[in-house]
Amino acid sequence: MKIKDGIRAGFIALGILIYLDLIGLPKTFGSSMVVTFAVIVFLFSLFSLRTKPAEAPAPLPSVLVNGLIIGVITGLGFALITFGFASLQAQDVKVTDVFAQISHENIEALTGVDKVALREGQSVVPGLTKLAGYFILAGVLGGVITQFPASKVLHIGDEEKRSSARYWLMLALPFLLFAFFLALRIEGVDIGGSEENSFGLVLIYACIAAALFAVREVKAGVHKIGFSALIVALVLVIPQLTDLKQNAILGAVMIFVIMGIGLNIVVGFAGLLDLGYVAFFAVGAYTYALISSPESYIVVNLPWFEGLNFWAGLPIAVLLGAAAGIMLGIPVLRMRGDYLAIVTLGFGEIIRLLLLNLRDYTGGPGGILEIPSPNLFGLDLGNPKGILYLGMAFAVIVTFFTIRLRDSSLGRAWVALREDEDVAEAMGINLVAIKLMAFASGAAFAALGGTLYAARQVNIFPDNFALDVSINVLSLIIIGGIGSIEGVVLGSIALIGLPEILRSVDEYRIVAFGALLVIMMILRPEGFLPSTRRARELHEADLDSPAEFEG
C-alpha cells in the first residue's frame, strides 16, 4: 500500500462528496448529511485499503497513514470549499446563481450556522473543524478496520464460500433498518432532521434493497421460506407506517416494477430491444379511461353505457394491451437488433401522437378526466395507500406469472432466441409464436401498469406517455440487472423512487441518472442484482474455469 494510493482514493472520495454537495443532499437532508458524508469517507477508506481475502492485511502503520491521508484530504478539502461558500454568502454574494443548491440551508446543515448568524459574522470555523474532524476520524477508522479479518467479508466479488458473518449481516440488515425506521416514527425522536420525512423514505428503500439482497443470501430450504415470509410481512406493514407522500411515491415505484417485469421478458429474456414500450402503457391507461370515465367519448356518446368500474375495465385494458403487443410484433418479426429498436421507438411515438391528435376520441392534449378509482368490497382504494397495496398485489401476480414462464420450455426458448435465432428455429422452436408471446405478455403487463396509473392519476394526458417512460423502464432493468426480477424492484427504487425524494434537486436528476448509469456500466455491467445467468455471462470468463483446460 503506497501513499500514492491513499492520495488517489482521498481525491476520488472528495470528488464524490463535492458532487453530492452540489446536487443538494445537505439542503434536503439537513445535518444528518455530515454523518452520512463521514460514513462515505469511512467506507471509501475501508474499501480502498482492505486486501483480498486470501492476502494478509497491509501493515498497520501504512494503513494508518493512508487512512489519515484520505481523512485529511476529504476533511480539509470539503471544509475549505464550504468555508469559501460560507464567506461568499456572509458578504451577500448570491452563490445560488451559479450553484443552485448551495443555499443558506446547505451551509447551515454542514456548519450549524444559520443565515442570520452568518450575516452577523458568526464564524463557521468551529462547525467546519468538527466536520473535518469527523472525516479524519472516519478515514483512520476505515483503515483500522481493515486489520480485522471480518472486514474481508465485505470484499465484493469474492467467489469464496459466503462466510457466516456476511450471511448474518445480510439477514439482520433489513430488520435493523426497519427498526431504525420505526424509531423515527416515535414522537419526539428526530434522527433525520429533514423535512417531509424523506429520510424515512430513504430508510424504507434501503430496507427493501437490503431485504432483496438478503433473500438471495439465504440458502434454499426452510430458512429461505421463513425469511421470505418475514420480508413479505414487513412489506405489508410498511404502507401502514408511512405517510401519504411516501405511499404515493412507493405506489409509483410499484407501477414501474410491473412495467419493468414486463419489459424484462421482452428485452431480458427474449433479447428483443423494445424502445417503444410506453405505447402499451398508454394503451392500458387510455383503454381504461375510455371505458370508465364519465367524461370519455364512449360513455358520453353511448346513452345506455355508464362506464365500467375498475375490475371490469382492467381485463379489457390488459387484453387490448396484449393485442397491441401482437400488432407491433407482427410487422417486426423479421427484424433484429438495431432495426427492431428503431421501429419500436417509432411505434411508441405513433401512439402518443395518435392520443394527441385524435381529439374527438381521446380529448387531445386535454386528456381524459375523472377516471374512477378502484374499490374492493366497498373499500375505497383510490388513495395512495390503496394504490400501493393494489400495485404490490399486481406486482406479485406478474412476478409469479413471469417466474413460471421463465422456468418452462417457453422461457428456455426465449433465451435460445436471444442467443441465436437461426439455431433456435432449427431446434423446432416456432419463432413467430414465441416472439409474439414475448411481445404480448410484455405489453399486457405494461397495460396493467397503465390501468393502475390511470386509476391513480384520475386525469391522464398524452404527455404522461412520452419517450422518457420507455427509457426509464429500460434503464431500471439495466441498473437492476437484465433478466432478474429482484433487480427490477431495486432498479425501480433507484430510478423512480430516489428522484422522487430528491424533488428539490430535480434539475440534476438526469445528470445523476447519467452518472449512475456510466458508473454502473463500468463497475457492475450486470446490474445490482443480476440473474445468475447474466452474472455468469459477464464474469465467468474472468475466472479460471477448470473446464477450460480439461479434455
Binding site: 406469472f401 413460471r404 414462464l405 422456468d407 418452462s408 420450455s409 417457453l410 428456455r412 426458448a413 433465451v415 435460445a416 442467443e419 441465436d420 437461426d422 439455431v423 433456435a424 428455429e425 432449427a426 431446434m427 423446432g428 422452436i429 416456432n430 419463432l431 408471446m437 445467468r533 455468469r536 455471462e537 465467468e540 470468463a541 474455469s545 473446464a547 477450460e548 483446460f549 480439461e550 479434455g551
Partner: protein, 264 residues
C-alpha cells in the same frame, strides 16, 4: 430398405450463382451416408435446403414420403430432421443441460398456461425432460458437466453437446456438418465410433458432410460427391476412391491423370 429422404432436381440459386444444381439423391433408412466435395461445392447449402433454412427454387425434397421443401425450419425439425453446424453453434450463454433441453423443445407438449398453473402434466413433463437431458449428457460422456456454460466447455465437449442437443429432438435423420472439424486423429476416431454406435443402437439415419477422408471412408455406406453444386459421383467408398472425376475435382486434371496412371 426404403428411402427415408429423397430429393429430386433440387436447385438453389443465389442471384447468378447456382449453389445447388439439379441435385437428385436419396438415402436409405438406417444408413450412414456422406456428402463430400471441395470447398464451396454447395454441401452446406444443400443441408440448409433440407432443413428448410433455404427454400430451393426448383425441385422436391421428400422426407418419409412427405414433401418438405416448403416447410419452415421448425416444422422440418418437428418432422424428425435435426442438424449440427460446421462451426459449432451452441447457445453459448446457456448451460450444457439447458442447450439439450432447448433441443427437446419440439417434443414438449405442454402449453404455456399449464406452466403458469404448474399442473401435474407440466411438472411431470419437465421432470422427464430433465432426466432425459441428463441421460443424453451421459450418453455423450459429459456426465457432471451439465451446469457448465456451453462456451466454457472444451472444444470436443462442445461438439458432443451439439450432437446431444440434436439427438434431444428424437430425430429420424441426423445431419452432421463436418462433425470432426478441428479434432485430432484420436478424437475423430472416437467420434466415428460414436456415430456408428448411435446408428446401430437407435437406428437413426445419419448424413454427414465431412472433409476428413479417413472418417468418410471408414464410416459411410454411401458417398455422394458434389462439385459446383452438381452431383459428379455416387457409390460405395471404394468406388469413390478410384473415381477419376472425383480425383479431378479435388486435385485437378493433371493430378487425376497421374493418379490414374499410378493406380494402373
Amino acid at each position: 430398405m426404403a428411402a427415408i429422404l429423397r430429393t429430386l432436381n433440387v436447385t438453389k440459386r443465389f442471384g447468378g450463382l447456382v449453389a445447388v444444381d439439379d441435385f437428385s439423391f436419396e438415402i436409405e433408412e438406417g444408413s450412414i451416408s456422406s456428402i463430400i466435395g471441395p470447398n464451396g461445392a454447395g454441401k452446406t447449402t444443400f443441408f440448409n435446403c433440407i432443413t428448410g433454412f433455404y427454400t430451393p427454387e426448383e425441385g422436391l425434397i421428400e422426407f418419409k414420403g412427405k414433401q418438405i421443401q416448403a416447410l419452415r425450419t421448425d416444422q422440418v425439425t418437428k418432422m424428425g430432421i435435426t442438424r449440427t453446424y460446421q462451426n459449432i453453434r451452441l447457445f453459448a450463454n446457456m448451460t450444457a443441460l439447458e442447450n439439450i433441453l432447448v433441443g427437446m423443445h419440439s417434443r414438449l407438449k405442454t402449453w404455456w398456461p399449464e406452466a403458469v398453473i404448474g399442473n401435474k402434466r407440466f411438472r411431470d413433463e419437465e421432470k422427464n425432460a430433465l432426466a432425459k437431458a441428463q441421460e443424453l449428457l451421459e450418453f455423450v460422456n459429459l456426465k457432471g458437466l451439465g451446469d457448465q456454460l456451453a462456451r466454457n466447455l472444451p472444444y470436443g465437449a462442445q461438439r458432443r453437446v451439439e450432437i446431444a442437443r440434436a439427438l434431444a429432438s428424437e430425430p429420424d435423420l441426423l445431419l452432421l456438418d463436418e462433425p470432426t472439424a478441428g479434432m485430432n486423429t484420436q478424437e475423430s476416431a472416437e467420434l466415428t465410433d460414436f456415430i456408428r454406435n448411435l446408428r446401430d443402437e437407435s437406428g437413426i439415419t445419419v448424413l454427414l458432410i465431412e472433409h476428413d477422408m479417413r472418417v468418410v471412408m471408414g464410416i459411410s455406406e454411401k458417398i455422394t460427391v458434389l462439385d459446383y453444386g452438381s452431383k459428379i459421383a455416387e457409390g460405395k467408398p471404394k468406388e469413390i476412391q478410384n473415381n477419376p472425376k472425383v480425383i479431378e475435382a479435388y486435385l485437378g486434371r493433371g493430378a487425376a491423370s497421374g493418379l490414374e496412371f499410378s493406380a494402373a
